[in-house]
Symmetry: C2
Subunit: 244 residues, 2 copies
């Protein structure tokens, strides 16, 4: 199984990452049965011609992705394919993109205006400071799915409406050189008002999923505050957690 693999020592991608990627592919493709024990670190290091710490770093990566489980005195085992697949579960949006059915994005508004009190509070800026407000309608299969409302401090940048129609907001932020650090989000539910129902093609009183998210950059500044509603009949949040 471990035939000659090619490590490129002159490549800028770190050795341990090359090793990790190779193992990841090998696990995913080779279809190692659940519980297969990998060779121990020393043997692997010799086989690949690297040092043990490099192997260990690669292993830590695989553990953090949930692909393998390590136990002192026992070894490294491959977790069941079923579990691995469940960890790769993605959101409906990702699923649609993957299957070629690009979700549609319609920009309902993209303006710069003085921040109202509530928004200024969430963004941590003075009331009345200029913020850009972006309202988008996401849809798929000819049906609306979500109404996304985002606020950014306007000092940062103005995002073109055209760009928003083709790329996700986070993708655009990253492309502008903004380093995201973390985010907090709150997921709740409520019944739709008449206006919300109309926007999402639902009936008044239908169940909606709500999500508020605040994203921070490396310097602790708030990059973005979002307030979103989703048609509960057509959308749900999917996520996976690793223990510890």
């Amino acid at each position: 199984m471990a035939q000659a693999i090619t490590l490129d020592r002159s490549s800028p991608v770190p050795l341990y990452f090359q090793v990790a990627q190779h193992m990841e592919r090998s696990i995913e493709a080779g279809g190692l049965p659940r519980g297969t024990r990998l060779p121990n670190e020393i043997v692997l290091a010799q086989q690949l011609g690297v040092s043990r710490p490099t192997i260990r770093k690669a292993m830590e990566y695989l553990v953090s992705k949930g692909l393998v489980v390590r136990q002192r005195g026992v070894g490294t085992r491959v977790v069941s394919p079923k579990v691995r697949r469940s960890l790769q579960l993605t959101s409906l949006f990702d699923d649609l993109e993957e299957s070629g059915q690009r979700p549609t994005t319609e920009v309902l508004s993209n303006v710069i205006a003085p921040a109202p009190a509530e928004v200024a509070d969430m963004l941590g800026i003075p009331v009345g400071a200029p913020v850009s407000e972006i309202v988008r309608l996401r849809g798929a299969l000819d049906q609306p799915i979500a109404r996304l409302t985002n606020y950014l401090s306007a000092e940062r940048l103005m995002i073109s409406t055209q760009a928003l129609e083709t790329s996700g907001l986070y993708q655009l932020l990253r492309r502008s050189g903004i380093q995201l650090h973390s985010a907090t989000q709150v997921i709740g539910a409520r019944t739709a008002t008449v206006a919300e129902a109309r926007a999402l093609g639902e009936r008044k009183g239908a169940a909606l999923l709500t999500m508020q998210r605040t994203a921070f950059d490396d310097h602790g500044k708030i990059v973005e505050y979002g307030n979103h509603i989703y048609s509960a009949a057509r959308y749900s949040f999917q996520m996976s957690l690793l223990s510890t």
Copy 2:
């Protein structure tokens, strides 16, 4: 700030973790202003009398908890207290426990029965195999908040009703020596049926949050499948994400 700290080399808790914990406390308590730069790795290693890899391991831990940000050629900076606090946001249940207001748990049923098709499918066991079904009502401040329905393969263990009234399910599982590996969950919403509304003290048609969760152990076996409903008026999910 970095006065003589006490590292216990004979302690079973690893050196790097002692270092990490010390820094965590020192960051949290010392109230370092946002962006404070820590001494570099070499200096820290000398100050604490450990090697550089040990310091690095401690730093990796702090990065993974979102407390500091590292940048090659620049150094290690403490993230803003506001962001740190937001990363510690917990669920309503945790908040209640912390404030001494223990959430109440009423066990509505705790029986072993043959698995119906849907449950057997989710647990990955044959239809009709014995499963234990646990239904709990969670409440706080004299109001019901959630109805939690869990299924475990009955081979594993029978959990006493009494234990369920005082401890969380996951706590009990861990205490029984079951190693959780990962879980996947789906969060959605729908309107309450008459029965659900009655159970949660809501009106028919009120918005409910729903959550289905499947938990796996290290061997890829499914430990638990849960199907939960929450009063959206009194509960919401709160979580924080670190950008990779």
